[in-house]
Each structure stands twice: as C-alpha cells, then as structure tokens.
C-alpha cells in the first residue's frame, strides 16, 4: 500500500526529531513522496534519514543524550533441547577377516538421534565418511580434476589405490560405467573382474556402482556382488525403474549392503524401501540415496528433500530412518564448476575455472551434510579433504583435527593482512 506523505506528516517527523527550525533549507517545486509502510504509519528510520539527507539537513540525535543505563541487565541464556523419538539405523560397510571379508577396516554410518552435528541435543555417533570415485575406463573429466588421475585412469586398481594412499579416502567407489550398452557394453563377467582388482588393490570398504543403465545394471551388479562375496560392499543401486529385486537379492545372497536410490521424491523413497523390507532385506543392510543436485542446479530441492527425510525419520517414520549417501561428484555438472568463461556476456569475470570446480564440490558436500548426509561420494581430492575436515570438526572429532593456528575471534577487525591480492 502506498501512502502519500503530507506536510503535516512531515511536521510530525520534525517534531519527533526535536527539529524546531530550518536554516538554509530551500524546498522548491512539488514534493510527492511515496513509501511502503509495512509496520504502521511511523516513518522507518532509514527513510526518515534519507529524507533528512534529501532535504540537506544534518541528521539529528533522536533521543537526547542522557545518563542512560549504568549497568547491564543480568541474563542467563537458556534454550530447550530437542528430543526425538526416532533414530537412524546404524549401517556397517566392509567386512574384516573375522566377519568373512578381507577388509582391514570397516566404516559405520548412521545411528543419529538428532539433526546433523546437533551434539547439544544428542551426540552424533559417527562422523560422515568420504568415498572417492574411480571408474572402470578413462572418462572425460574437468581440467581441474583430470591432473590428479591422469596417470591411473587406465587401471581401476591403481586408481583406487591412489584414492586411498594419496588422497586419504575412507572408501572407494568403483563405477562400472563401461558396461553401458551405449558406451562399451562390457560384459558383466568382465566388469566383475574389475571389482576383484579393486578389492585386491585396496583394503578399505568399497562401493560398487553400475552404469546407471536400468536394463544392464541388474546383471552387472549381480555378477559384481558374487565375486565380492562376504566383503559387505555397498551395492549402488536399486531403483524403482529397474529390476531392483534381482539386485537386492544378489546383495543379500552374497552379504552386501544395498543402496536404495530415488529421485528427489520422499514417497518414492518410502515405497522402494518398503519393497525392500517386503523382500526381507534387513534394516541394517540399507542405505538410501535421495539424489544429489549440484549447487545452483537444484541443490535446494536436494537439501530440503534430505532434511525432510531426516526429520521424518527422527520423528519416528521408520521407512526413512536410514543413513544417507550423496553423490557430491554431481557438483561438476554445474557449468560454473568447469566452464572457462561465462556464456552470459553481462556477467562479471568468472576467474579461473580451476578454483571454481573445487569450491562447487565443497559447498555441495557441506550443504547436504548439514541436511543429513552420512556418506559423500566425491571426486576432487582437495574438495574431499576439505569436506572431511569440516565435518570432522563439526562432529567433534578428537585429536589431530584441531592443530590449526589458534586465533582470537575479535582480531579480524584489525587484521592487517589482505594487502596481497592474487
């Protein structure tokens, strides 16, 4: 609603500000001021000041100076805890010799009884973990990532090893993308050999991913599950648009965990999970992937979808009470992550793509971590390290993590750095 400012309004304002006379003020012509008054007819201070300014007056103190308040009012900050009735399933990936596998360590995720990192409500039992991607064939990668993997792209085993030894991955994901009939149509049995190579090459738990082809994946993942028997891999993934039963059965038969994947749809996720329950898949063998969308390309949907699932689960919806896996590598789908210059002519300079890619992956990862992500599949080693670092800190990890230089928070005002511009 617009309100016309009348002279009497103006007079009121002057009264309010203790202004009794004007000096050297000249108002010429017609003044018609319109403004939006959201909270009542009182002129917002900002506008009042703008008006003063427009009229060429020095701003006047609103309240006469006075002795004022001598002491701070005492107060104690209090806040209620949020207690939830539900809890997230705890899922272990990987099996050591004592459990019939050959992994040197396992990874456990889930178990939360509060929102992520809300340790003031209930301590998060396990910090999020990072799986670094490798592929069963050389793939086109953004320039900023390619350099890290160029020497190992022909050999998935070496690639996996590099992810663990050089980049500190908690887990490795082997994506069997060459099995796609439109790529190389690698037979399932051959793909299974790649899985064996990876299991030989690294001793961390692994994720086995198909090509995403709904017709081929069931056979590929079944063969992979068979050769990895007893290793308790995460089989990625079962989806409503394919023969998920065959994949889930294979995962069960050979002792693996199944990734239940749906696309930004809570109800579909509940449905697929219920199908898995019906098949007899135990709860501790399920991880869900509600779909990751990149920063700038739907991350708001992914964030809210995950956050809503996590809240529902904590409120007691057992259909959704599972650890959440996020394909953070999807961040590289954002053009800002890899494109040299902006395709939009009016944009400010985009700067080097090499700096944009990692920051897109980092922000996508942390954002979904704050929504409820437990397992992040990532690509850029420095982005993976950064997300690992910050989630460890928020989780409250002990030891090594807190070795950064100590600072005083308020020193930022007088920080003399910043003189150097890159």
């Amino acid at each position: 609603m617009e309100k016309k400012l009348t002279l009497s309004d103006l007079a009121k304002i002057f009264e309010e500000y203790d202004i009794v006379e004007f000096e050297d003020v000249k108002i010429t012509g017609d003044i018609e001021l319109e403004f939006w008054a959201p909270q009542g007819v009182a002129l917002p201070p900002a506008l009042a000041q703008a008006l003063h300014s427009a009229l060429g007056m020095h701003p006047m103190p609103r309240v006469p100076e006075e002795a004022g308040i001598a002491e701070l009012l005492p107060a104690t900050f209090e806040v209620a805890k949020t207690e939830w009735t539900g809890h997230i399933e705890e899922v272990t990936i990987g099996a050591t010799a004592s459990d019939g596998g050959t992994r040197e360590q396992t990874v456990t995720i889930g178990g939360e009884q509060s929102m992520p990192f809300y340790n003031f409500d209930a301590q998060m039992p396990h910090a999020p973990v990072i799986a670094v991607d490798c592929f069963d064939m050389p793939i086109p990668l953004a320039k900023a990532v390619r350099g890290f993997y160029e020497d190992v792209m022909e050999d998935p085993g070496e690639w996996a090893k590099k992810n663990v030894q050089k980049f500190g991955a908690d887990m490795v994901t082997i994506h069997l993308i060459s099995t796609d009939p439109t790529i190389k149509d690698t037979p399932a049995r051959e793909a299974a050999k790649t899985v064996e190579d990876v299991l030989q090459a690294v001793k961390v738990p692994i994720v086995i991913g198909g090509s995403g082809n709904p017709d081929k994946d069931p056979a590929v993942l079944e063969a992979a599950a068979e050769v990895a028997e007893g290793e308790r891999c995460l089989i990625a993934s079962a989806n409503l648009n394919m023969d998920y039963e065959r994949i889930a059965q294979a995962a069960q038969k050979y002792g693996h965990v199944i990734l239940s994947w749906t696309q930004l749809d809570i109800n579909a996720q509940k449905t697929l999970n219920r199908y898995l329950f019906k098949m007899g898949v135990p709860r501790e063998d399920i991880v869900i992937d509600p779909t990751t969308a990149a920063l700038g390309y739907g991350i708001d949907y992914a964030f809210t979808n995950i956050e809503r699932m996590r809240i529902s689960a904590l409120k007691g919806d057992t259909d959704l009470a599972f650890p959440i896996s996020c394909g953070i590598t999807n961040a590289w789908g954002a053009r800002e992550a890899w494109m040299k210059d902006s395709p939009i002519k009016e944009d400010s300079d985009w700067g080097p793509a090499a700096y944009r890619g990692p920051i897109y992956e980092i922000l996508t990862g942390l954002t979904l971590g704050l929504a409820g992500g437990d397992l992040f599949m990532m690509m850029h080693p420095e982005a993976a390290a950064a997300v690992k670092n910050v989630t460890q800190m928020l989780f409250g990890a002990e030891g090594e993590i807190d070795t950064a230089k100590k600072i005083e928070m308020h020193d930022w005002i007088s920080w003399a750095g910043g003189a150097v511009t890159r």
């Binding site: 009542g40 917002p44 900002a46 009042a48 000041q49 703008a50 300014s53 609103r62 100076e65 004022g68 308040i69 107060a75 900050f77 209090e78 806040v79 209620a80 809300y118 439109t182 709904p214 989806n239 648009n241 920063l295 700038g296 390309y297 739907g298 991350i299 708001d300 964030f303 809503r308 809240i311 494109m339 395709p343 939009i344 002519k345 009016e346 400010s348 300079d349 700096y355 944009r356 920051i359 980092i362 922000l363 954002t367 704050l370 950064a386 800190m393 928020l394 807190d402 600072i407 928070m409 308020h410 930022w412 005002i413 007088s414 920080w415 003399a416 750095g417 910043g418 150097v420 890159r422």
Partner: protein, 472 residues
Amino acid sequence: MKLSSPMAIWKYLPGTNCGDCGEKTCLAFASLLKERKKHVKECTPLFTDEKYLDKGKQLVELLAPEIREVSIGVGARARKIGGEDVMHRHELTFFNRTALAYDVWDTMDADALRDRVTKITNWQKFYVGDFLTVDAIAIRSVSGDADTFAACVKAVAEETDLPLVLCSFDATVLEAGLKEVADKNPLLYAAEKTNWKEVLRLARSYNVPVTLFSPDLDMLNSLAATFSAAGVEDIVLDPGTYPTGKGLADTFSKLVQLRRAGIVDGNKSVTYPLMTVPLTAWLVYGDENAVDASYWEAILATMSIIKYADITISHSIEPHSLIAERTLVENVYTDPRRPVSVEPGLREIGTPTADSPLFLTTNFALTYYTVESDLSSNKIDSYLMVADTEGIGVEAAVAGGQLNADTIKETLDSCEAEKKLKYKTLVLPGLAARLSGETEDATGWNMLVGPRDSGRIPGWMDDNWPPKTVSE
C-alpha cells in the same frame, strides 16, 4: 508469528468479506497472511474503521515475524535482514536472504580502495532470469585511528550505494566513521561487554542498527536485553565465529541455539538477526595461502548461510568465492513453495522461422530457465521443446526413464513440431546423447546431439547448424 492457523488470524479480521484486499473472503485473506503472501495493511477497514482499530493493532503485533526484521543502508540497495519465522525452509520459506558483506579496511591506499569498492558494488552474475549481486561493504578499522577511519568511510560512501558496516570496538573510532554516513543507516559493529555504554549512546543518538558481540551467550543475552530496554531494537547478534576445530563446532551450536531460542522458545531478548564473520578463516590461513583461505572462508559462509546467519562478513572477492557463496544464498532462500516444473510444450525463442533449430529440454524449472536464458542471451532464434519429465533435469531423467524415446515422440506429436520446421531435426541435450538412436527409430526424425551444457550452444551452432544431413 504468534497465530498458528488461518482461523486464528480470521478472528481478528472484520469478517465482512468486503474484498478491499483483493480476496473474496476474509478467510482467504487470512490464509495468505499465514503464508506471509499478503500484508495485513492490505485490509483497509482494519486501520481506518474505528471499531476495528484495536484488533488491527493487535494483529500487527501477532503477525510480526519471530525474528525481528532490521534494515541496513538506504535507497535502492538497502537490505532487510532477519524477519524469519521457521527453523527449516520447508516449514514455510526463509524470507530475507543472508546479506553478504565483503570487507575493505582503512589502511588501503586510495586507488586500491576505490577499485575494491567498485568491484564489490558492481559484481553481478546472471542466474535463473536475473542478476545476482552482493549486499554490503564492511569497513574495518585496522589503523585504530579515528580520522583515518572517518576518511576511509567517507571515501567508500562516495563510491558505493551499498549498505555499510562500520567495524571497530573503539566507540570514538566508530563515531568518527558514523558522522560521515549517519544519513545512510549503516550497521555498527560492535558493542561488547567493555564498550557497550558508548556504543549504546551512538546507536541511540544516531538511530542506527547495531551489532552486539559476545561469544558468551549469557553476556550476549544480557547485552541484547539492555539495549532493548534502552529503546534500541535494531539489533544484530554476533556470537563470534571461530574458524576451526572445536571452536567451530561451538560456533555452529551457538547459531542453532540462538535461532532456536528465538523462534521455538520465544526468548524475546534473542529474537534478532544473527551475524557471522567467515573472514576469521584468514587469521588462520593468512594471505600467503589465499586459495585455501578462500575455500575455508566459503565453508564458514556455507555453514552460516544454512544455519541461520542473516548477515556475514567475508574477505575474498575472487570470482570463485562470490559465485559460489551468492548462489548458495539464492538456493537456500528460494521459496520451496514455488513449482519445481514449468509447463511442457513448445516455446519460441526470439523470432524463429522454418529454418531455425529445435532444441529439446526438460520441464525441470532450473534446466528450462538455464537453456532459455542461454538461447535468448545469445540471440539464437529457435524453438525450445519442453518435455514433461515430472520436473526432473536431463541427466537424472535419462537415468530415471522419465526422458526416453517414447516421451520425446509424444512431445513432438503433441506440439505438432513438424508443421513449423523445414528440417525434421531435433537437437538433443548432450546429456541425453544415449537416447539418440532409439529416438530416431521411434520418431523418424533426425537427431543431432547438442553440447552437454547449453552455454556451449553458440559455438555448437557454428559447426552444426544448418544440419548437413537433412530429412526435409
């Protein structure tokens, strides 16, 4: 807001269904008030008719957002911060996006200062139909000298219309700066436990918003209660931003707890906008590790943007920082009630003719607007055919089966594309390349595989259009 349903709000309305507000009934208006899609002042009788005035007054108070809305700056680029009502965006929406402030300091030489202020002021990036910009400039007193600070503030104000944050713990320095821009409604930073009396005096005399700083939440609560009792309500709370380790976890927990105390518990003395300072990352990493510092700063900004900071102060104005941080703000503060998808069908970009190309995309709003703006910004006259993929983007829709040869055929048929075009050729998104063969079989159309990103369409057109093999 304090009223939990449209019915509860309706009780305060005249109930005459007069229609002044543009709605047919008072109840319909009440629903929109609940969703904060209409403003109570649009009910004219409530504020003009004697007999409703009391109710009107009460309703204004009851509908006020849980977190106070504070304005900083003046003019077209003034910003409101705070004004939030919910803890999670899906419960309604977040309203006033986090204001991103970037720093300058009073020991910069004149040219460098002007250059930096101009860069911050003019930075822009196109995104989903509009240009993103950043929100404020924070001026740090590094010299500690009042005159130096005042001169810097003056110089900055001459170069920008962005809201300013004046930063010093020395009230004398603050006042010197404030005098230069007192008519510009700058945000003061900050009052704390030792200087609060002087800063309170400044906030009152100049009637400007003020930040209260204390990592001790009892003290912060106490400062806020005191300022409020003294009549200062335009308050921003800074619980301190510790950049690493346990201090970081502590900062995170304070942000969540302050917002929860304000919104859920209704602790009046902390119902104010929150501030964080991702810039503290630079104190750890230093200038010599600028890239790492900017990444860590972006991490602190991410945490802040998602978990309740209403204004942040950062240092890196490198494009990678600005693009990523500002995009995240846009995403988090997008109204989740807006539709995910656009109408399927055939769109004309520019003034297409029978010789123009036909591009395929999905009805996921973000995908659609991206492709649409890439085509129109590069002035490519063309047809854009939008397939119904249930609001899912290209790559995911190919994987999930919402985009396949059959759905493409249906879309082609239903929009009668062949009547408009000379070449029976469809340009598939590069991410849907694998559908090429089967779609050719299903439709009898010639498929051209476009680039994987629609930003590359201009270059792609040079090499691929008009098509070399055509079925006319």
